[in-house]
Structures are given as structure tokens and as C-alpha cells.
Symmetry: none
């Protein structure tokens, strides 16, 4: 069964508003004194937990550690195993590149090759972002392939993003990045016969790029990986009969929201900015995805104190959201980022849904352990959207 | 989605070791004073529960009572509904017969027929195993079918196993066992057109067998059921990038492990022998499946006291396993065998995963009820392998 297809037949428009706050990487695992969420002082989160229905979600399924793409797709109700987005597309989203259907995108590394053409540094000594920008501009200006538009755009340091635009391009092409030093770059290969023309174009692109970069050591080569195109995804607004808006600081999350058809609201750099954006636009949409990044960054840094502070900062900023009295308020995460692992993890994430229609349970504290014992129990994140729609009375009865 | 296909793209080799202890039939249902697991004195199991993450698993899905095959396949990450193994193959595995791809195996009953050919005892009065052995030897020696190798091997009492080996044999053949006394044996029938030749061969086999057995009353007939061939199963080692070993006393479990490609280690008859085998081979593998049978046998006997002792014997023997400090230690069961039912059951089984990377929860006691309240919650056994791999950091992030 396709969940979205099923839900589409049950959704109904009404005036109720849903606010989904995604606290990136919120979940953790206990240190000697508990998880960061347990250690943080969070009177507002706890109040929401007291008034709401709590649970614990597996982002994908037990054991699977999601990247940002799968983590958010699941929260948005898109089966992350079915809707997979390639590295190249994510790179393009991450720099806010206006990707079009049919474009082929790839993640680019500037790299160093020796006189024999062997890769001796896959990251070209992590060249400064400014040099990366100069090289990208020169490449984009000089490279000339008839019938093809070539975009090559800086991410940062040695990383960039390549986008090819033209007729009948295909993304089923193998990586040129050998993934290890001591080997020459790989030839791109078609993974389906229809990709042969794209491969010829890529070979021409690589030839010209190599010539242009030959004097630019250490950044004298490009390595390409994760060729991909925009996936066909059902429209969030159409399936759920919602008018959705995204409030996020980082391009990646705006890009993911744009992929499913949310409107991206302009905002500033801080959580205060994001909440102001929410307040200013509150009358114009009935679904808000508000993304908070600081918890994940602290988790990736392995900095427990910073993660606690990031949680407390979020907590302090909740009152203006609560004051809007959204019909359904949900606070959760796209995945855990335990400071002990300094990385995303598979551990389930806490979730609270506060609504007049919720089964208010006995959970007194918003934490992983407390939420496990909430009325929502443990469930796959893919079921979050049906739950939010249900609590907003936006899902009709199934069957007579 | 095929789970193994999906996982195969995420698995990565590292040096970490996983030990999976399967306590056969461990789960129970409470008597007046609790379940056997609650009544047993289990300081070591409880210590592992305190240090680990606990949960409760449905072997297949709620309500389904698995045989040994499905129970173990689920633990190994093979969807037991997709990978079904026929009775004949299980019989062959159970006597350690070296089955080859293409062989057709069937479960055999020695039976008694009267002068009209009607089955009057489906079990031939449970003839002694020794007589069974003599008859099998005689049948195997005398039966002659050109181009076909015939193996007929003793299990015990009236039970044996038939294996046909030859070109283009098919297992889609109906049983000859009428399942009730008072009826003649059924004719084998092809269930697909391609099985017609196999059916002719079987008819010839049955004719010769009947002639040989005609004077051997009560064992004067063979009943055949569960025709089956080795299923095509992905290799455990390849999918998970593990070097797996099986330590089990009973042939059935070795057979199941061999089916998925584990190496079968020679061991003795007791749990002490098994643990010595684990210690001796600990350096050579990174995944160990250690099977403990006594709990299931006691459950099948309906002997609560014996089951409690079996659990306590396991508990006493845990320290040498704990001393190996496996990176991931998991203790669980393939199914419940409540003494009240004297049989396998559908009741969920307790599971604990101890690892540095686990969410150490507040569970203090390894029991069904305590484990229900652990951080892993209740989940299908099919997700155990992804969880074990995740805790050993052997699963890459899914998506960027």
C-alpha cells in the first residue's frame, strides 16, 4: 500500500492549523547522568508533554540511521525507502540551487592528482571556499558543451555541486570518485543503456575541466559522485489538502521542503527569527514545518553541554509558539544525534502531539524514556502525518 | 521492499564482534507465581538487562506461532513468510544430511497398511529406531531407479527422510500421507506440469518400496509429505559483511544456520561445550549464533521446574561469555514455549542488547514483563539483525 495514496482519499480541508517543530538530532543516549534532553531544564517542553500525547518514533525502522533526507521525508509522510534522493540532488538543495525536473546533479570534490593522474588528495588539501568559488566561476564560464547548460557551484572548502541541464539527460551514471587515494579517477559508466549519451557529455566535461584545472594544483581535478535527478514526489499540499510553509535557516531543509512542494518562507539566522516568521505568516498557511538545527550540530560535535544549551534555547523560545495556540502542535526530531557517537544514529526519537483531541497521558517530562511510556507508544515516523492530520480532524472516517 | 536487499547497501565491515545467544523457547506465560523466567534465579541475565537495552519481540507477527525454521530465519533477518522451508528439507537438515541444490527431500513415515492397502497405523506402532535403520539401509540398497540417486535415512522411531537426487527434479508434488487412518495412501500428484517426471519417479520408488516392505509388517508402507528443495537464500555473510559461525548441539539448528551460509563449529553436547567452542573460536569470526535447547525441551514437556532449572543453568554459564566482552551481546529466543501449552506459542519473547552504543534503560530484570518496558519496546524479530548491526556500527547512514 502506498500510504500517501491511501491518505489522499481521506484528507479533508478545514481551518485548523498544524505546527510541526523539528528539533534536528534531538534524541540521545544516556551518559552517566542521563541524556541531554533529560539533563536540560525544559519547563516549556515538559508542559507540552504534560498537556499532550507522547511517544517514541523510529525514523525509518529499528536499526536504521537516516540522513537528513530520509529523516524528513518520513516526518512528512513520504516512505523514505521509496522516495530516495541522490547525493547530487541533496548537494543542489543544500546550496539552494533551483534544480528543474530532468537536471542531472552530482556532488563534486576538488582533488589533487599527481603527474601520472593518480589521486593523491581527494579533498585537494581542503582548499579555501574563496578559491573554490573562483575555480567554479572559471569552469562554468569556460566549459562549452553544445546543447548543454553546465552549472558548477561552490558548497564550501573542496566541495561543490555540478548540474547538467539539457534534453534527455539521465542520472544512471557511475561515480568517478575512486573513494580512495592512490588510484586514478574512475571513468563514468552508464548504468542503463539510455545513459550513454550523458556519459559522453560527462567525459567531454571532465576533459575540459581537467585542461582548465591543469595549472591549479592542488585543485587540479574534479571527482564526481551521486549522479541524480529530482525524484517524482506527490505534492504535500495536494495529498494532505494543506497549505504548507517551511521555516528553516539551512538550505538543505528548505530544499527538502521545496521538494515536496512547501512554500519556503524567508527568515533570519536564529530561532527567534524563525519564530517571528511563524508569527508573521501564521494567518496565511495551515501547516508549518519549523526546523531547529542547533541540537544536531552540538550532537555532531560530541558536545554534551552545547547540546543541553541548544535544547534550553529552544525551550526558552517556545512560549510565542504556544501563545499562537495551534490546533495541533507537534515537537519531535528527524533522528537522534547522540553526543557519544558524534553522528546521526538509529535510536528512536521522542515526540509529543498537543491538541484538544489528543489522549492526554501521564507523561510529565519531555524525554526519550518518558515518551516511550506515553500513549502513542513506539511507532514508525511515517505515521506521524496521519496522526497530525487526525488530531486536526483533517482525516475522514475510513470505510462506512 | 526486500529488507536484506536494503540492508546489503548499508552494511560495512569492521572489527566489532556480535554474539547472539538464542535461548530456544525461552518465553512463557505466567503461572500463579509468574513465568519461569521470572521465577528463575538469574543474576547474570539480570545484570545484562541492567546494562543493556531491552525489548519484546514478535517472532513473526502477533498471533503467529513459528516453527524452528521461521523462528530462526526471523532472528537472522530473513522474512520468514518469504523464505519458507519445506518439511522435507527440515527433516534433511535435522539429520545433518548434506542436501544439495536441486535435491528433492520428503518427510517419511513408516506406516502399517492392511491387506486392502488401507492405512491402519500412520506410525507403524512407533517401530524402534534400530528397526527403522535396518529398513532404511535395505531400501536404500535395493531400490534402483536409473539416473536417480535415492537416499532414505532414519530420523527416529517411525520417522525417516527421503532424498532424491538427479536431473531436473521438482518438489511441487502433493503428499501421499492421507493424514488419517482408514484411508489408502494418496497417489503423488504433480502440482505444476514440470513435476510430472518427478511424480513418475516417485511412483516407481513407492512401487519398489512397497515390494521390499511387503513382508515387514507393521512397517509395510511409506507415507511421504512435505516435498521440498533447498530455497535460494541470500548469504548471511555477504549481506551483512560478517564472518558468521554457528554453535549448536542439535542438527536442526546447525542445518538452519548452514542454509544461510554460516560456518558450523564442532562442539559437544552441553552448554559448557558450546561456550568452550565460542571461546576457542572467538578470534576467527565476528558473528556467533549460539543455540541453547534445554529451555524449549522443558517447555514442550510442560515441566515448569525443569524449565526454571534450564534457565538457571544458562545463567550460571553466562560469565565466560560476558568475559569475552563482545561489542554486541544479544540474548533472546526464537519463540516462546509455555509449559502450560507444552508447545511453541505466539507469545512475544524478551530480548536484551548490550553494547556501548545502546540506550541503557531502566530495566532491572530479564523477564517478559520487564522487557516490555524497555527502550526497544515491542518490535518484529525481523528487525533484530538491523539493530545488532547498528549497535556494532556496521550500518552506514541511509541517505545523506
Amino acid at each position: 500500500m502506498d500510504l500517501m495514496e491511501f491518505l489522499k482519499g481521506l484528507t479533508q480541508k478545514n481551518e485548523k492549523k498544524i505546527v510541526l517543530v523539528v528539533v534536528d538530532g534531538l534524541g540521545g543516549i544516556p551518559g552517566p547522568e542521563g541524556t541531554e534532553l533529560e539533563l536540560a531544564h525544559t519547563p516549556n517542553l515538559d508542559q507540552v508533554a504534560k498537556e499532550g500525547a507522547c511517544g517514541l518514533m523510529d525514523p525509518v525502522f529499528p536499526g536504521i540511521t537516516p540522513g537528513s533526507g530520509p529523516g524528513h521525508f518520513a516526518l512528512f509522510g513520504y516512505d523514505p525507502v521509496k522516495y530516495q534522493v541522490g547525493r547530487g540532488v541533496l548537494s543542489a538543495l543544500g546550496i539552494d540551487f533551483p534544480l528543474k525536473p530532468g537536471d542531472v546533479a552530482a556532488r563534486v570534490n576538488f582533488a589533487t592528482v599527481n603527474e601520472k593522474g593518480v589521486v593523491i588528495d581527494r579533498r585537494a588539501g581542503r582548499i579555501p571556499t574563496e578559491l573554490n568559488r573562483e575555480l567554479c566561476e572559471e569552469l562554468e564560464k569556460k566549459i562549452d558543451i553544445p546543447g548543454i547548460e553546465v552549472f558548477i557551484r561552490t558548497e564550501r572548502e573542496h566541495r561543490a555541486c555540478l548540474v547538467l541541464r539539457g534534453e534527455e539527460l539521465r542520472s544512471e551514471v557511475s561515480d568517478t570518485d575512486p573513494q580512495k587515494e592512490g588510484f586514478p579517477p574512475l571513468e563514468p559508466k552508464p548504468l542503463v543503456p539510455e545513459a550513454e549519451r550523458t556519459v559522453s557529455i560527462l567525459k567531454e566535461f571532465l576533459k575540459q575541466a581537467r585542461d582548465i584545472l591543469s595549472s591549479k594544483k592542488p585543485a587540479n581535478m574534479l571527482l564526481l559522485r551521486g549522479f541524480s535527478s529530482l525524484p517524482k514526489m506527490p505534492s504535500f499540499g495536494e495529498v494532505y489538502k494543506l497549505t504548507p510553509a517551511c521555516i528553516a535557516v539551512y538550505p538543505m531543509y528548505k530544499g527538502l521542503a521545496r521538494l515536496v512542494g512547501m512554500e519556503i518562507l524567508k527568515t533570519g539566522e536564529t530561532i527567534e527569527d524563525e519564530i517571528n516568521t511563524l508569527k508573521e505568516n501564521y494567518g496565511n498557511f495551515d501547516f508549518f514545518f519549523l526546523h531547529y538545527k542547533a541540537t544536531d550540530s552540538a550532537g555532531e560535535d560530541g558536545n554534551s553541554e552545547k547540546k543541553i544549551k541548544a535544547i534550553e534555547t529552544l525551550d526558552k523560545n517556545l512560549p510565542p509558539i504556544l501563545a499562537l495556540e495551534p490546533d495541533v502542535l507537534c515537537i519531535t526530531a528527524d533522528h537522534s544525534t547522540p553526543t557519544q557517537l558524534k553522528a546521526h544514529s538509529w535510536h528512536p526519537v521522542p515526540v509529543v502531539i498537543r491538541a484538544k483531541t489528543c489522549f492526554r497521558d501521564n507523561v510529565q517530562r519531555f524525554s526519550e524514556w518518558d515518551c516511550l511510556h506515553g500513549i502513542l507508544g513506539k511507532f514508525p515516523a511515517l505515521y506521524l502525518m496521519p496522526l497530525l492530520l487526525a488530531h486536526a480532524l483533517k482525516l475522514k472516517k475510513f470505510g462506512a
